[in-house]
């Protein structure tokens, strides 16, 4: 079943009466990298969690594919800012996503090693995953998600707290995943990264999507005051909520 286009309509989420998502409207086509920008507390990470089904929205709808399915059968993965690392080897961690598929241990190992080769961690295959650096752990998490061949990959600030070199490696892998045919929706606070990676920008503040435009237009001619101030680093606190 095709999961694109994804149409999000008037999505709302109000835990304990606090409005985190205040009516999100969004449409995603089947290719490219969309970057979600916005100040802290804008609801970016929550939006990703709602899209992948980890959070049940209070109201609104999501329609997947031309058939408008309420939730996709499979093909949606998410990589978190601090990804889970089992107390096991790098290889065991990367092959973890294959466990529910019922593949043999030998096949999981073969696919896992091939994937580690692609993300430059093959020489660390037998090391403990928890002893990898932050950048290596993020690459491992991306590899684990990539191995499941997702149609939509949600990334929640995957380069937060990484140095430029480690960020560059992660960005290279994200581009490869995109080239491999995976649609990417990624939250970031790094405007430089947004211009390097993004095809289009979703700008959020106060639990709403304020703009959804191609990346060049967003930075050249932001349509909302919030976006303009955000780019200039001058978004006042009262406008963030």
């Amino acid at each position: 079943m095709a999961i694109f286009p994804l149409r999000v309509r008037d999505l709302r989420y109000q835990p304990n009466g606090r409005e985190v998502l205040a009516g999100i409207d969004l449409e995603l086509g089947d290719e490219g990298i969309t970057l979600v920008l916005g100040p802290n507390g804008a609801g970016k990470s929550v939006l990703l969690r709602v899209i992948c089904g980890l959070i049940e929205p209070g109201a609104g709808s999501m329609a997947w594919g031309d058939e408008g399915a309420r939730r996709p059968e499979q093909g949606v993965m998410m990589v978190f800012q601090r990804p889970m690392m089992l107390r096991a080897s790098v290889l065991q961690n990367v092959a973890l996503g294959l466990k529910p598929l019922g593949l043999s241990a030998a096949e999981r190992r073969r696919q896992g090693l091939a994937m580690l080769e692609r993300v430059g961690l093959a020489d660390r295959a037998e090391d403990s995953a928890r002893q990898l650096s932050g950048g290596e752990q993020q690459r491992l998490a991306l590899a684990r998600a990539w191995l499941t061949k997702p149609r939509l990959l949600l990334l929640d600030e995957p380069t937060a707290s990484l140095d430029p070199s480690a960020s560059g490696e992660v960005e290279r892998i994200i581009r490869e995943i995109r080239t491999d045919g995976t649609r990417i929706l990624m939250v970031t606070h790094n405007l430089g990264q947004a211009t390097r990676l993004g095809d289009d920008i979703v700008f959020m503040s106060g639990g709403r999507v304020r703009e959804h435009t191609p990346v060049q237009r967003f930075f050249a001619r932001p349509q909302s005051d919030e976006a303009r101030l955000f780019i200039q680093g001058e978004l006042p606190w009262r406008m963030r909520l």
Binding site: F80, M84, P100, S128
Partner: protein
């Protein structure tokens, strides 16, 4: 030499000469407690992980119940197992009463709640951190349980050690269902109780020393293993 020092001297002699009676009792104790802990591990660890991961009505009640049963009096377990295995009981036909197997059954029932409760707590803490990602990878409930048990394997040594400590130091249940029969069901704790009541304190102290050394050695081994695992896997 005072009576106190003489008793310790006799106890040391028994240990130094590898006294046959002491060795027999120690071996049987290890077999019974080891068997109980093995069964307790096979039942209690998966059960604890299932309670931690599962979403079902009565989960909180079950957690409270398991925690409460950690302090189950061993004599109560002894009496219940005695009733079940006695000739007129539902399992009387198997003729297990006053055999080492009956002692294994009683000790298993004692260690399961303890091992289950510790496992539930350890696994639940990790599950809270892993749940979202495992859910996204479409892990079944059982896949999650096995993955978490594997991930927590070093921490769960504590559960196994706690079970072993409880089993080896327990006296009430094995006394009731084993009968403390010489060369058949006499283990360290029941022998210590008996020899003390008879006034043969040397044998009691010798067995007590062995019991303490075994428990300390196992704890030291577990500590080293956990320390190594923390360095190896983080």
């Amino acid at each position: 030499m005072s009576a106190f020092a003489a008793t310790f001297s006799d106890a040391f002699s028994l240990l130094a000469t590898f006294d046959h009676t002491v060795a027999e009792i120690v071996v049987l104790s290890l077999q019974v407690s080891g068997g109980a802990v093995l069964l307790g591990t096979l039942i209690g660890l998966p059960l604890g992980a299932c309670i931690a991961v599962g979403r079902f009505p009565g989960k909180s009640t079950m957690s409270v119940l398991v925690n409460g049963l950690m302090g189950l009096p061993s004599v109560v377990v002894g009496v219940v197992v005695y009733l079940l295995l006695s000739r007129s009981g539902p399992f009387g036909g198997f003729g297990l009463l006053y055999t080492p197997l009956a002692m294994v059954i009683a000790q298993t029932l004692l260690v399961i709640p303890l091992m289950t409760a510790i496992t539930r707590q350890v696994v639940e803490d990790v599950w809270q951190r892993y749940a979202e990602e495992l859910q996204l990878m479409r892990f079944s409930w059982w896949d999650s349980v096995t993955t978490l048990l594997y991930d927590c394997r070093h921490s769960l040594l504590v559960a196994v050690l706690a079970g072993l400590g409880r089993a080896m130091s327990e006296v009430g249940a094995v006394m009731i269902v084993g009968g403390n029969i010489d060369r058949a069901t006499r283990v360290m704790t029941t022998a210590i109780a008996l020899e003390t009541s008879k006034g043969d304190l040397a044998l009691a102290i010798a067995l007590g020393a062995v019991l303490i050394v075994i428990i300390l050695a196992l704890n030291a081994l577990a500590f080293m293993l956990r320390h190594w695992a923390m360095r190896r896997y983080g």
